[in-house]
């Protein structure tokens, strides 16, 4: 019997230890992990890792940065939220609804680009957005596509009551559009460019009609960043080095775009098409200008209103104010006592001033 008890105790201890190993504790450290997933605005991270730009900047600050590509966007955010990664590529909306709503204080280190056509509402046999009324709409529920749909419906005086949303996984969008029962879809590139080529498909609304609202970020854990400002500087250095090459009209730039196109499953021309639907901030000063403009506050207000409406800021959230969003300059949207998402221009400014 005693033996049984001892075994039980040992098992219990082992399980407890396993459970403890979970959360990452922030403190000064040397090794950092960055997660990214395939999307036109984030391909530079993979390119930077492959071509040694990451190593160059990490070495400069005496740290190591491990860059990991995730095949699944949501999983990369979940890993970051659970504490396994220090930084992750994410959109402004998902940053607010996943890590921030999950209590992980998160700072947007780099504002890379915003979608200017990469996300679109596509109808089969319909000429205008108004034709969407009464249809089933296939999209990834609660994603930026869902947000785009809400904004699109809003723009023609309709609401989500006028359509029926059907959750559909993004890898299956192109196939799904070719089945007879799918007549309306909201998705993003590279799927959009495939779908609009299909017979009967009409793009009736896209993100260029809500410019600057779907923003692609590199975010990092605020505590990690506060303890290790060098990590933020290295991220900014890597990013602007890479996008400078990528945006340049030189053979090196073309080679970089071809490499990123190949890595995202298309080619240089396909990748440049997607870039055209993306407002990339190749110069840090442009990004600083964007993030410090008053429009950001309006955008985040739309976004948090949408998330609150869908119950994504927590089931017990009394209002959209429950999570504080700090803007550059210190103004806070929402609860000042619970700031969990911060837009910072610190590192981009350093890059703009050449002070990295």
């Amino acid at each position: 019997m005693t033996m049984c008890r001892r075994t039980a105790l040992a098992t219990l201890t082992a399980l407890a230890v396993l459970a403890v190993a979970g959360p990452g504790l922030a403190e000064p450290k040397k090794d950092f992990k960055v997660a990214w997933s395939i999307y036109v605005g984030w391909m530079p991270w993979g390119y930077a890792a492959d071509t040694g730009i990451v190593k160059k900047w990490a070495d400069k600050y005496g740290i190591t940065i491990e860059v990991t590509q995730f095949n699944d966007y949501v999983e990369s955010i979940n890993q970051y939220t659970a504490g396994a990664y220090d930084a992750v590529t994410v959109t402004n909306m998902d940053a607010l609804s996943i890590p921030s709503a999950g209590g992980v204080d998160t700072t947007a280190v780099i504002v890379g680009d915003f979608s200017a056509g990469n996300d679109a509402v596509i109808l089969k046999d319909g000429a205008t957005l108004a034709d969407i009324k009464g249809r089933n709409v296939n999209l990834v529920e609660f994603s930026v596509s869902h947000y785009l749909l809400a904004r699109a419906l809003d723009s023609v005086g309709m609401s989500e009551q006028d359509v029926k949303v059907v959750n559909t996984a993004d890898p299956d969008m192109v196939g799904a559009f070719q089945t007879p029962d799918v007549t309306a879809m909201v998705t993003w590139n590279p799927m959009v460019s495939e779908i609009v080529k299909l017979p009967g498909a009409t793009k009736v609304f896209d993100s260029s009609q809500i410019p600057g609202e779907i923003i692609d970020l590199m975010v990092a854990n605020t505590q990690v960043l506060a303890d290790n400002p060098d990590f933020g500087k290295a991220l900014a250095g890597i990013w602007y080095d890479t996008v400078t090459v990528m945006a340049s009209d030189t053979p090196e730039g073309a080679a970089a775009r071809a490499a990123m196109g190949a890595a995202s499953g298309t080619d240089q021309a396909g990748f440049e098409d997607q870039l055209a639907a993306t407002k990339l901030f190749a110069k840090p000063a442009d990004a600083v200008g964007f993030v410090t403009s008053p429009d950001l506050s309006k955008t985040m207000d739309h976004v948090r209103g949408f998330l609150f409406d869908k119950g994504l800021l927590g089931s017990g959230a009394p209002s959209a104010d429950v999570i504080g969003i700090e803007l550059p300059g210190g103004a806070v949207l929402g609860d000042t006592g619970n700031v969990k998402l911060r837009f910072s221009d610190t590192y981009m400014k350093l890059a703009a001033d050449g002070a990295l």
Binding site: L12, L15, P23, G103, V104, N138, N167, P180
Partner: protein
Amino acid sequence: MRWINRRPSRGATLVLHCLPFALLIVAYLIGSAIRLEANPNDKLLPSLATLADTVNRMAFQPDPRTGDYLLWSDTAASLWRLFAGLGISTALALVIGLLIGLLPVMRATLAPFIAFVSMVPPLALLPILFIVMGLGEASKIALIVIGVAPILIRDLSLSAQALPREQIVKAETLSASTWLIGLRVVLPQVLPRLLTSLRLQLGPAFLFLIAAEAISADSGLGYRIFLVRRYLSMDVIFPYVAWITLLAVIGDRLIDLARRRVFPWSELEGAR
């Protein structure tokens, strides 16, 4: 006494039954407490109070957007798909399995084909299914049938073939026709086996159901899990996983109960 001969007493058996469950719960509570202390908003291992709150919200409060009780409407949608899929599979298995087991001509025609089909990984067919059958209910049910039916058919035909040849010969000497042998000699002996293999296929059936629901749906247990997964809402996922497990266990028990009630002769040796 050797360990192989030691039997726990009745009370000890009960305690031992509960022990792994209790350990799991205690480990969870410890982990949850530690994570929540570091971050009160942590979503990975929510506290019991949060879990209870969520269960209450999902099961007993109408959803503010649709007015449905989400847990029940999800369960109804999923169980309907599961029953349809398993029902079709069982019917197919009964007919085709019996034909293969009974008639050498059918065996020669179908057995290699079924053996081949049963090796196709059903999940790899999913993208094709969605295009051919659309994103509606048909493709989800078809996935369950494709995954489960070949295994049931093979199992049934094998157990029909495993019946002692003497039984068939004996029935023939009593001038039974092929039809009568199938109906009165083979069927009563393979039907209990069909129910047992159906039990064993419950797990895979749930796997296929959830995989199909994850890709495209507007209700269902798998749909909900993959929807809230975006938000790391473990307070929804844990109760749903527990609920699916419970449903599967209940299904397993019910089928076994039915087998013993309807085919009492299949339990001759196990009667205790």
